[in-house]
Symmetry: C2
Subunit: 494 residues, 2 copies
Amino acid sequence: MKIDDNINFNAFFYPKTIAMIGATPSPGKWGFIIMMNIIKGGYTGRLFPVNPGYREIFGLPCFPSVNNIEEEVDLAIIAVPAANMIPAIDDCIKKSISSAVVITSGFSETGAEGTMLEKEMVEKASRGGLRIIGPNTMGLFSAQVSLTALMPPVTPLKGKVSMISQSGNVGTQILGWGREMGVGFDKFVSSGNEGDIKCEDYLRYLGSDSQTEVIVLYLESLEEGKTFLDIARDIVKEKPIIVFKGGKTDSGMAAAASHTGAMAGSINIYQSAFRQTGLIEVSSTEEIIDTAGAFLSYPIPMGNRIGILTRGGGWGVITADACEASGLQVPKLPEEVIKKIDEILPQYWSRGNPVDMVAVITSEPYLKCLEILMSCDVIDGIISLGGALGESFGKSISDPNVLSIMGLSQEDVTRFRAELAAESSMINKTTKELMEKYKKPIVNVSIGGGKRTIEEHKFITYPTPERAVRVMKYLVEYGDYLRQRNLYEKRRFR
Amino acid sequence: MKIDDNINFNAFFYPKTIAMIGATPSPGKWGFIIMMNIIKGGYTGRLFPVNPGYREIFGLPCFPSVNNIEEEVDLAIIAVPAANMIPAIDDCIKKSISSAVVITSGFSETGAEGTMLEKEMVEKASRGGLRIIGPNTMGLFSAQVSLTALMPPVTPLKGKVSMISQSGNVGTQILGWGREMGVGFDKFVSSGNEGDIKCEDYLRYLGSDSQTEVIVLYLESLEEGKTFLDIARDIVKEKPIIVFKGGKTDSGMAAAASHTGAMAGSINIYQSAFRQTGLIEVSSTEEIIDTAGAFLSYPIPMGNRIGILTRGGGWGVITADACEASGLQVPKLPEEVIKKIDEILPQYWSRGNPVDMVAVITSEPYLKCLEILMSCDVIDGIISLGGALGESFGKSISDPNVLSIMGLSQEDVTRFRAELAAESSMINKTTKELMEKYKKPIVNVSIGGGKRTIEEHKFITYPTPERAVRVMKYLVEYGDYLRQRNLYEKRRFR
């Protein structure tokens, strides 16, 4: 894939030096908050505050202009008012800066006058060799240099997902949810008004970026739909692209038009184009992180036949319902599989799929059932409810009331919790090994279990079976797409 | 509503004395765990462990049989093995106990032999004047006497929701989710195999129970559908009934049959009967608590026309999409409303619905916009994203790194956080007052905001706009049903 050579993405995502134009020590201003977030994030390069009114900010020497900085400046982050933007751009050009993030709002999103100002700014910058993210952007994040140049006080977890967001509020919140679910990011950009660099440019870059394994898009509108789809089609051979589309209905499109100034196209056209191109279109904001985490965690299944393993009958019913409603099959188990499980579970077990472990709570039969299902020819993937049984019990038993009732010592509890943790860790390890051995996903649900991160457990775990079923559906859809294009074997065993 | 006089529900939910038959000091056994949960829950009555093998358990005197207890016993909780059940039942009858919770499994859910045993047990009990919850139940909870006779280590929050669950695993987990979302319970019963007392009996009781404002059901199958609907029809005039149906698909029904032994009926018949009867059927487990919390928090709207107030454009787009996709309207605002908001927001605000506050982050304009929308004739309810803006900033600013970067003292931060908390509390108070004044719901979304409970804030707050839209839809549907039956005015202004 050819990258637009005129955009120096390295300067945006791997800058060694940053000038923060409009830095200020006044709390509440963006020039304060962004600088605070950069410092707090532990940026590995050097940061130069620029503001003629100060000689020092947060203990760093402050420069009247970028042209007073002696070192080369890789990236300018600009947060001065819109009225002062043209001089700031002039300064950057004079300093031969290639790349600027324009945080400032008050451009095309505010009407005709702002549109003219944006055009003037971008044209001037282009002529001077300066490329712009924004304006009206909430900034960017890059894990490799610990750069958190963002407006909200979010510290993203580092990982293998990268995101382009046409809404700063939505995008930065997704970063926050990622942290909660243990899904980390490598690069993030709030694309703002896309006055210069467009969604398509970022997508092309992330497609070729070796740090990025999964791409996430919050999309409202596309200027060049065909270019976008051509780029996407190339990328999905190698990495999944997850899209959430804002502006699906008349009400949503009207809202989108008023907020970015761009017109969102008809959703039917978008949706069928997404599907044909192999993009994973998710239908709620919650699914964005759920699905990104699934693609980081699980092998792509060979088909839609799901085995369900549960420790509670009701949850098995709910999971089976959710599968069938989503177009996933819950196949009958072959007689020899039932016979094998007969040897493990009490004779009154469900003898069907879902496999209800009927209150058998130890690990060994659980793992045996898991492997029997994994090795079964009619099963393409498993949804497992119950791997993390001990966690809530372990938490409960540490309650001081419980300690005194049971007459347990703190030592007993510490030992007991350590045993539970070791067991949980062993289950996770075996689960991961089974997935590698059989190349099938075991999508995990931990109802009421503790929070579990991909770092600790090597795969994401969902709090409800419905959320697990939704991501399984997306994994299956991606597999279907790859198989239709004869790309499945290559992608799956990479 | 007439209650079956043969069931002493007071003995189940307000017992002064409980015999725990099968109590044991062996960790891991149900007779241990349930007793621990009762003690830990702070039960206000007296508890008598019964087990011939011990003289004392957890410091309480232990009795060889219930008949060795001198005091009257209101309730027996039985956790002995199925094989020892008949003698235990005989003992209870001899002691003239009216009410027993049979935790023990191994009855009709395991096949023909278990079904016979269950029948024998229930018939014997009935003849002896003993009524049974279960068998194969995970127990019950009653807030008024702090009785947590449950198998899992869950401590429900106390409140105004009561629940009947045909799955113990599902039901007790819902209690846990209620605690997380700040939705409290007054009564809960895991109905088990319903060998004696049926779902319909519990429903009739909760309908007449003055402590219960919202009823929640996890339902797999009904023995007497018509009776159930007749009872429900009467109740929904006064209080909403929220139903989640397990066994909606062939796969789910097959799973349900294997787990309770009962056959679930066709979902189409169920769903149209639910709708005609005014029950709120929710479609995912997450919605159970979301919806119960909504009915506790918000007035029932007069119609489906929704105003959206947001501090971030993208979230407004997503909310508008979700509304329209759910059949809620996002009406255009009348010219005079736009003029009023013109006086409050910067001139480039969205000038439409959603009302995008375009980065105005202070409370006063937010509350003014809220009241303008509330007083607007074309708006029946509001979804508000942004009431809790300061919370995550307040959390962030307490980060030790931030303190040192900003040169803030711990005192400064404490004062700042107190100011944010006071502002947040003022916003919540005003929100509540506006709902009372205009009798319209303001369903709150706090994206990334802190956890907020109904106790503290007097209303529930959702983490995503999609979840807020779903509950708004259910509020509207309940209002529609009440209006069709000419019950709306009465219910709404009670």
